[in-house]
Symmetry: C2
Subunit: 185 residues, 2 copies
């Protein structure tokens, strides 16, 4: 078994650390690992990883039910929850379209998004928060074609300068998009 970012030396260090732990702690650790697999599942509505089903966000009626933000992975939900500025719902695709890697619409959590939009007719805007990679861009275009005809507004995150960043270190393409997407003050 290989854990990401842990090479042979660290693995040996961790193994000796576990050897020195009291029996009880090791038991707890093992149980925690098993719990991850047994208790965590995908929310049946949004596809986010959750202990309860539907997840805490889908179940929360105080959230803005008119907006669904489409993200690639569960960890993106965590990132957007941290900004403390988005109060709508989410939908986790589980990846992006990538014909080269054999990922088509069937491999993604897409059908459930369409069903969801048909059921939850209070949704007025779908926000595409996909990575700004070629695959993310083409997935965004695909989703736009799928959703817009239903009369739902489709938007995407702004492309531009990062907060705190210097123009000097931005790529030409980012600068171009930042000029095109400029906002009035």
């Amino acid at each position: 078994m290989k854990l990401p970012g842990i090479g042979e030396k660290t693995a040996i260090r961790l193994a000796f650390f576990v050897l020195d732990l009291p029996e009880e702690d090791v038991q707890q650790f093992a149980n925690a690992l098993l719990d991850v697999k047994s208790k965590l599942r995908q929310c049946e509505i949004c596809g986010n990883i959750t202990e309860q089903n539907p997840c805490r966000i889908c179940a929360d009626e105080t959230r803005d039910q008119t907006k669904i933000m489409v993200v690639e992975e569960s960890k993106d939900v965590m990132a957007f929850e941290e900004i403390n500025g988005y109060h709508g719902l989410y939908h986790v695709l589980g990846g992006v379209l990538s014909p080269m890697d054999g990922v088509g619409p069937e491999e993604l959590n897409l059908k459930s998004l369409i069903t969801r939009l048909q059921k939850q007719d209070q949704v007025t805007e779908v926000i595409l928060a996909l990575n700004s990679t070629p695959e993310g861009e083409s997935t965004a275009m695909y989703l736009k074609k799928l959703i817009k005809p239903a009369g739902i507004k489709v938007s995407r995150l702004a492309t531009g300068l990062a907060v705190g960043s210097d123009i000097e270190y931005a790529s030409s393409l980012t600068l171009k998009r930042a000029v095109e997407g400029r906002t009035e003050l």
Copy 2:
């Protein structure tokens, strides 16, 4: 004398390289250095570094005379010329307001911007392309207050995700701005 990014070892390597050069090449190199100081000056209109006065961009009547992009430094002009997507004019401030460092409006190329806006009455938009640092932000607010009352549109570069970047690596504040500044597809 210290050149940026050149430490003792590199300096010694460069010195020996110069020793090995033919007399003629060294003469040329020395002249080039002197030329930088003697021939380059600030454009009297936009403040950009230039050999001719006014500079090539200010003198070019085919450029869009309705837009002025305000940047901090001459190297920012180079960055925006490389995107091949902006055809308006520039104004180089020579820095940003920074009371902590004793840089007030008088220290910047600001008065000439105001004079310029009064003279060139075809200008309809001033684009603030300042770094997204605290000093850049407060300079942007200062300029907005100065220029907007004259009935000229003031805009700023989009803040958001860099092209090709992952949501995972963006700061919370950048994500927040990217959500706020989202654009319809």
